[in-house]
């Protein structure tokens, strides 16, 4: 009985140490780090690694710490807590990230909710040509080619990237607002329920 207690204690100490090491590596890296890389260094199996990261992310959030952990499917990164942005802005020069234009956002929304999609799919929804927007989104590394559609001409299929997730502060695409609703193939049936803009 005593022994098992001791063992559990040791186990928890080990986990704590792993968390500290992860924090340290992510702090030094600054950029997002591939979860596989963390697993390699700490010699942990991937499921265990992902578990640890989720736990850490959760505890940083509930504690409301100044530094938060953002974990996507592939990467982990330390970011500042957005709740304290006012203090940050007062301390450092406001370095606003560029805003995204309406046409880029609309194109991105279609691709994000409906991925994988071709450019023609996007154009069908928006009713305008989207070459420019698609190219720009690719340059911004928010979307990427994910394959070819098996129809005449084999058009390119696009999907969102890990950077997209990070830029929008989410873990997976289904965390996007009303994902279930907008990702449906046919939206018009439930359109009455959509709140008026």
């Amino acid at each position: 009985m005593e022994e098992r207690k001791e063992e559990a204690k040791q186990e928890s100490r080990n986990e704590q140490l792993l968390r500290h090491k992860i924090e340290c590596m992510l702090f030094v890296a600054g950029d997002p780090v591939a979860i596989t890389e963390l697993a390699r260094v700490l010699d942990l199996p991937m499921p265990k690694m992902r578990n640890l990261l989720s736990e850490m992310e959760y505890s940083y959030r509930v504690e409301g710490r100044g530094v938060q952990l953002l974990v996507t499917h592939d990467t982990a990164q330390l970011v500042s807590n957005r709740d304290y942005i006012e203090e940050v802005k007062q301390l450092v020069n406001p370095d606003e990230t560029k805003s995204v234009s309406q046409s880029l956002l609309e194109t991105l929304a279609v691709i994000a909710y409906r991925q994988p999609v071709t450019r023609a799919d996007v154009e069908r929804v928006r009713g305008v040509r989207c070459d420019y927007a698609v190219t720009q989104l690719q340059k911004l590394d928010l979307i990427v080619e994910v394959g070819r559609k098996d129809v005449v001409g084999h058009p390119t299929l696009f999907g969102t990237t890990d950077k997209f997730l990070r830029q929008f502060g989410i873990h997976t695409v289904d965390e996007m607002p009303n994902f279930q609703h907008y990702s449906q193939e046919i939206i018009e049936d439930s359109s009455e329920e959509i709140p008026v803009v």
Partner: protein, 254 residues
């Protein structure tokens, strides 16, 4: 219209139609019983200011709207092809789809603006310990086997050694470089001849000369000769303390 809205501010014909529908506080499905087609067409006056691509999209929509209008004026054929969606239904569906994604993009924008309040930092610049090299095949068995093999090889070829009197090259560019360096640390300037004793071996002279060339190239020493055939003076310039990172021309693995 109380004020003119520029066509450029719309993302396309669907966006303009939605705008008109909202202004009229209509539901999307009521578009064809309203004045919206007329309002849409009035906007077409601005088309001159648009580029061809955008203009053609607005024009195509205008044509579609006119076509639908004309269909409503004419008596319809009793039974249309079931498989084909009539243009009204198609347009209404398109408008609803587009409206949904316009909303979705608004919500994405909020998400994006919120996430922007999270800042990242640059990588920390810290001195890291040197890269460790894990040695593959460096086991005691391997070491001992190599040792025995070498001893056995030596045992196999004693005659060669006796008959040829092979002296190992005692002078290497590295050893001569080190020697020159240590002399120069004490004396600062010397003559070329000072580096050798009278009975210097040819290999020593060659290795020393090569060492001097290396050192000149690296800016470690300066050479001066006042006149042709005059004694060469060697003086220290920026002597290196450590040349481990250099590989000399007479060095190679084996």
């Amino acid at each position: 219209m109380p004020y003119t809205v520029q066509l450029q501010q719309f993302e396309g014909p669907l966006d303009l139609l939605l705008h008109l529908i909202e202004e009229a506080e209509l539901d999307v499905k009521d578009i064809f019983v309203s004045e919206i087609t007329a309002q849409y067409l009035s906007y077409m006056d601005q088309l001159d200011e648009l580029d061809m691509d955008t203009a053609s999209e607005f024009l195509t929509m205008a044509a579609t709207l006119l076509y639908i209008k004309s269909r409503q004026l004419l008596p319809r054929p009793p039974k249309e092809d079931e498989a084909e969606e009539d243009p009204e239904t198609l347009l209404i569906r398109q408008l609803r789809d587009y409206k949904a994604f316009k909303e979705a993009s608004e919500q994405l924008k909020t998400l994006f603006e919120d996430a922007k309040n999270s800042r990242t930092r640059l990588p920390e610049d810290i001195p890291l310990p040197p890269k460790e090299v894990a040695l593959d095949g460096a086991t005691m068995e391997g070491l001992f086997a190599a040792f025995l093999e070498m001893l056995a090889r030596k045992k196999d070829e004693p005659e060669v050694i006796h008959s040829q009197h092979v002296n190992p090259d005692r002078y290497t560019v590295r050893s001569q470089t080190a020697k020159i360096r240590s002399v120069l640390l004490e004396k600062h300037a010397i003559s070329f001849e000072d580096l050798f004793t009278a009975d210097a071996e040819r290999t020593e002279i060659i290795a020393t000369f090569m060492a001097l060339l290396e050192m000149i190239a690296r800016g470690e020493i300066l050479l001066k000769q006042k006149a042709p055939f005059a004694p060469i003076r060697i003086s220290a310039d920026k002597l290196l303390l450590d040349d481990d990172n250099y590989e000399y021309m007479d060095e190679s693995e084996d």
